[in-house]
């Protein structure tokens, strides 16, 4: 399952020209408000006919301007979770949820109504109409509806934007399972770097209708050049890791190329490959091995590069084993520690700051 | 059996009585469809399931005859009518006029209207215009004529007092107590007001003939007379 998009679509005052590939798993479309994310998804879903180009799903053209192919929307079988909900106002929540079931390919595996209603906390609302739902409830119904149609691919446009943290925490693991177990490819639009980092295998960054960066999530998210896109607070590195073992006190030990990391207990068995995201501002740099600290994760490494920002901060790139970590320190600290390329340092990472949200199976 | 008669709308009450008498006499039905003579004639042209046509307008009967739709030599002039000048609550209660070429009809109307049926289209209007013209009165009142789409509507304009005077059939005026007849137009001031009747070629048959004979029988004439009509040939 892979999606290939290469389209051109000029609008008054906005010119869309994007080409990218989504090789399966979760592909995050990332970009500022007005960058063209919804427009791209609309084109893939068939709601917008691009002026030129083509869109292939697993090699099959959904749209090809040259070959005059333009598969009708309902034959594309793409589950679209709209940014603006679009629930059927005259149908109950239950009828909304099951609307697509009739057209789902027979025998296709997938969750049932009860399972979805449970996951999304819609049980007590099944007999209401959308007019009597809160904003977040609507968003959940829209998600469930797309899911129950057993689509060949999910297109999700900010599906969790109106949800509270607790509800997100319930849905995100479900999305991870979808990604890992069902192999359902997902195109995911979100402004939350944490969500993207957690879910995405591929990240495509849009800016004013152009793709400015696309690639595996680890690379794009760790790219210091992308700091502006993601915001300073979200800059960080994503490291491949595998689970070494589970400790009795509820910690899981992960092996990364530069050493060991301790983490709140994970579900997967030892040996599972995973990814760990370490935000630059969660890393403390020390010039000697620190002692008597609550932080359990201390990786030795070597400064590779220093990059000064506009503020009083400096981004330090540290090689720990085969991977690159990013750390944000003040210029004052950089001077105090005499940080310079080649200097041997220790990266101190609080265990608990590698939160559940920032870990995803690779 | 049932005989369908297409009859001018103004014959409704008379025809109802006739149908009852026919039923009593023969046990058969006369079913009458009332509409404007023009509508009925056109329908007959288009093959309406009618056996007998009684028109208020000889012109339409002529047309059907020309089209060869009438049964051979069945056409007969059935009824006569006359037109009268009437006054209603819109006119002075003591108004009395006599129709003559000297009548100052325009002056009598003042700024009121003279209600008539359409003077170029509906028989009562056509006869009225002819009569006024031959009396030399038409030109003076032409601009004051309010033309209704049928004679009953003209009668109603007078009855409601909207028009002080009107010209309608004697049969209509007689039955309406809102209006009073001022005078009857002389028979020679307009073409004879004749209701021709005929059997339609497509509907010809023994029973139709029987019904037609009944319509022209003395018993029927009595009923027509009761409703104010004159009998042609009398």
């Amino acid at each position: 399952m892979s999606l290939e998009v290469d389209i051109t679509h000029p609008l008054a005052g906005f010119d869309l020209r994007v080409a990218f590939e989504a090789p399966g798993g979760v592909t995050a479309l990332f970009g500022r408000s007005g960058a063209g994310k919804t427009t791209v998804i609309n084109a893939i879903a068939g709601l917008l006919r691009p002026q030129a180009g083509r869109i292939l799903l697993s090699g099959v053209p959904l749209f090809d301007a040259k070959a005059r192919v333009n598969l009708p929307v309902h034959r594309r079988r793409l589950g679209y979770v709209f940014q603006d909900g679009r629930l059927f106002p005259h149908l109950s929540v239950r009828q909304n949820l099951t609307y697509g079931c009739r057209f789902a390919p027979r025998g296709e595996p997938g969750p049932g109504l009860d399972e979805v209603a449970d996951l999304l906390g819609l049980g007590p609302l099944l007999d209401r109409r959308p007019g009597a739902l809160s904003g977040g409830e609507k968003q959940r119904v829209a998600f469930g509806r797309a899911l129950l149609a057993r689509p060949g691919m999910l297109l999700m446009d900010e599906p969790l934007a109106a949800l509270d943290a607790a509800r997100k925490e319930e849905i995100l693991p479900y999305l991870e399972r979808l990604r890992d177990q069902s192999g359902l490819p997902i195109l995911y639009v979100s402004h939350s770097v944490a969500e993207v980092a957690r879910l995405a295998t591929t990240v495509v960054v849009l800016e004013a209708g152009r793709v400015v960066r696309a690639g595996p999530a680890e690379q794009v998210l760790s790219d210091p050049a992308m700091v502006r896109q993601f915001g300073l607070r979200e800059a960080g590195a994503v490291l491949p890791a595998h689970i070494a073992r589970h400790h009795a006190d509820g910690l899981t030990e992960l092996a990364v190329s530069g050493g060991r990391l301790f983490l709140p207990e994970m579900d997967q068995p030892p040996g599972t490959r995973t990814r760990v995201r370490i935000l630059a501002h969660d890393v403390i740099v020390a010039d000697r091995a620190p002692e008597g600290l609550s932080a359990l994760n201390i990786l030795p490494g070597e400064v590779v590069a220093l990059r000064e920002g506009q503020g009083p901060g400096v981004v330090v790139q540290i090689r720990c084993g085969g991977d690159l970590l990013l750390a944000r320190v003040t210029r004052r600290s950089a001077e105090a520690l005499a940080l310079a390329p080649g200097r041997r340092v220790y990266a101190v990472i609080k265990t608990v700051s590698i939160a559940r949200t920032d870990v995803g199976a690779g | 059996g049932t005989t369908t008669v297409f009859a001018a709308a103004s014959l409704k009450t008379a025809m109802d009585d006739l149908a009852a008498a026919y039923k009593a006499q023969t046990g058969n039905d006369i079913l009458a469809s009332f509409a404007g003579s023009s509508s009925l004639a056109r329908q007959i042209q288009q093959g309406a399931p009618a056996q007998i046509f009684i028109s208020a307008n000889p012109g339409w009967m002529d047309t059907l005859e020309g089209d060869g739709l009438l049964a051979e030599s069945s056409r007969t002039d059935l009824l006569l009518n006359s037109i009268v000048l009437i006054a209603g609550p819109g006119a002075a209660a003591d108004l009395s006029v006599a129709i003559s070429p000297d009548l100052d009809l325009a002056g009598t109307l003042a700024d009121g209207r003279l209600a008539m049926a359409l003077v170029d289209a509906v028989p009562a209007g056509i006869y009225g215009k002819a009569a006024l013209s031959s009396l030399g009165l038409w030109d003076s009142v032409a601009g004051k004529v309010a033309q209704a789409d049928n004679v009953r509507a003209a009668l109603r304009l007078v009855g409601a007092g909207e028009a002080p005077l009107g010209i309608v059939y004697a049969t209509d005026a007689a039955a309406d107590d809102q209006v009073r007849v001022l005078d009857t137009f002389p028979a020679d001031s307009h073409p004879a007001i004749i209701y021709p009747a005929a059997i339609l070629k497509d509907g010809d048959g023994e029973e139709t003939r029987a019904a037609f004979t009944f319509l022209t029988s003395e018993a029927s004439r009595e009923i027509f007379r009761r409703h104010g009509f004159g009998i042609a040939g009398e």
Partner: protein, 232 residues
């Protein structure tokens, strides 16, 4: 009340009801199709279709009736064919009255439904399509329920119009008691004769009562349909 109206008058009431109901049954499906085409599709001759739909409103009813007579009469081009092929005769039958009423009501039906269709958010239909529903299914399960208040409004307008239709009907199918004499024709007939006003008034009262009852029912139905949509 049974003896308040004579048997012929009851016949006229029954016939008018039958004719009006059939007129609506006849014009609703075509009305919905036409309204949809006018609202959503673009095709050559769209303006012409739109014009034809409005014709019965523009033409004096007598003219419409006459045109119907010329077209659907036994000797008319379409009337003859329908008779030969399907044994379907309109001329001088109650079916013709229903046809006339349907045609006279058609512009009203189409306009109401078209306005309703134009008010439907096409993004909801798109959403249904993304869920795998083919066009016709989308129409039946999304568009149609959403335009229901408009369809009801169109139906009731059409019904009222059909109950009151006179000019085209009497011109097309004449005024034969028990066969083509509808309420308005009967009223007309009474109005044509001296002393008929009282009888006419009685029939007018019946006509108004029937139409008001239909109107009230339609309002209730439409409100219910609208409530479903507003979703509260």
């Amino acid at each position: 009340m049974a003896d308040w109206l004579g048997p012929e008058e009851w016949q006229a009431v029954a016939l008018s009801l039958k004719v009006s109901l059939w007129a609506i049954v006849l014009s609703l499906p075509f009305g919905i199709l036409t309204a949809y085409a006018l609202a959503r599709w673009s095709f050559p001759g769209k303006q012409v279709l739109n014009g034809i739909v409005h014709l019965p409103l523009i033409l004096p009813p007598v003219v419409t009736g006459y045109l119907l007579l010329l077209t659907f009469g036994r000797r008319g081009p379409v009337g003859g064919l329908l008779d030969d092929w399907f044994g379907l005769v309109f001329a001088f039958r109650w079916t013709g009255a229903a046809l006339a009423a349907a045609i006279m009501a058609f512009p009203l039906v189409v306009r109401a439904i078209r306005l309703a269709i134009e008010a439907v958010d096409p993004r909801l239909e798109q959403a249904a399509a993304t869920l795998g529903a083919p066009r016709l299914w989308v129409f039946a399960t999304v568009t149609l329920p959403l335009i229901l208040p408009g369809v009801i409004a169109g139906a009731i307008l059409g019904f009222a119009k059909a109950m009151g239709e006179f000019g085209a009907t009497i011109t097309f199918v004449s005024n034969i008691p028990g066969q083509t004499q509808t309420l308005p024709s009967a009223i007309y007939t009474f109005l044509q004769v001296p002393g008929g006003d009282a009888s006419a008034l009685r029939l007018v009262a019946v006509s108004v009562a029937v139409a008001m009852a239909a109107l009230t029912v339609s309002e209730v139905l439409a409100r219910r349909a609208a409530k479903r949509v507003s979703g509260a």
